[in-house]
Symmetry: C2
Subunit: 180 residues, 2 copies
DNA sequence: TAATTTGTACAATAAAAATTAAACGTTTTG
DNA sequence: CAAAACGTTTAATTTTTATTGTACAAATTA
């Protein structure tokens, strides 16, 4: 059957679209998602030009997208002997991708808020104990409490992030569903 | 001290900016983040107009932002007796917000991919067993394997999402850091 | 019931982001 | 060493997204 290969291609396109849309949910551009999808189904490493042809984008765009995918480690670069071009393959382990992506966000979040907290905390502590303005004292105390709550939130997310990263989480949530 | 209140205001602004930036990481617009930040530090429920004045945006914009914040349950609507306007307060529990947001994304992701899988699976199964075209059979088999891997990925994320939602996760990752 | 107030919908505008074409610096090849 | 091949950078363009002003419907008030 000549058309069977085409049918497989069609099925792949459906799945590639779904993968791209999924990635859009998490904030990447549709093009980046599409490229990852194409690489996901590629039977062998693809060069920039291979990808460019398949997704019909400019080389510059593909190059930028690849940088993003490499940064998040959803794609890795490989060398093909005898070929000067860079080649790329998709990291197919969704769980690994998910964890990479997610841990990065959690750390970024913590870093942002903690930086602000460190700036605000001494000011608020000073005012909450020393100010002669009662309303300022009250406001400062309230804010300090919120601030401390946020710290314990990060304590929690960091425990989660660490266990996601080092695999401890799989003690509680094993990868393999029990067969029956 | 007259200026102490101003210092508290400044400290709040720093933290509001950090909160907004954090939310941007997770894909919301800076304006939405800013509004949440303002509500986070509000001492009482605020009306649309209150918010509009404080963030210097159009009423339409604030209204749209509120819809988004209500959908993700980061903000809730409350009624103030004797006032016709709607009033809003921020859900301050970061952990709750995080879980809400996150579980939603995981479910959305699963739904998208599963829909594509359901479309592709029967086609691929047919080809992989019945096709007379060997290369099509091989490709289809390969794709089916990937597809099954993705299903077990979702099995995992759904176990996690459910436990996040129903609080079981706190058995393994308790909220309170042990005091010492 | 007419006049106000409130929140939202909608079309138009403004702002931001992604995409491209062209130029550039490196590296490789002949 | 000159020419060609790669991949990236840059500035300009296109596309997308967010924001606004205006108009509207529903509810309230006088």
């Amino acid at each position: 059957m000549q058309e069977d290969l085409e049918k497989v291609e069609e099925a792949r396109d459906v799945m590639i679209s779904a993968i791209a849309q999924t990635m859009v949910i998490y904030g990447v551009t549709p093009s980046v998602g599409r490229i990852y999808g194409v690489l996901y189904f590629a039977e062998e490493p693809m060069s920039l030009d291979d990808i460019k042809d398949q997704v019909a984008m400019s080389k510059a765009s593909v190059s930028n997208s690849m940088r993003e995918l490499l940064e998040t480690e959803m794609v890795i670069k490989v060398w093909k002997k005898g070929d000067r071009k860079d080649h790329y393959i998709a990291e197919k382990d969704f769980l690994k991708n998910f964890i990479n992506f997610f841990v990065k966000k959690l750390r970024q979040e913590r870093s942002l808020i903690m930086k602000a907290n460190e700036q605000a905390k001494p000011v608020l502590e000073d005012i909450s104990t020393n100010s002669t303005d009662e309303s300022a004292r009250i406001a400062a105390k309230q804010d300090l409490e919120n601030l401390n709550n946020s710290i314990s939130y990060f304590d929690w997310t960091m425990r989660l992030a660490n266990d996601l990263e080092n695999g401890e989480i799989f003690k509680y949530y094993p990868k393999q569903k029990k067969e029956k």
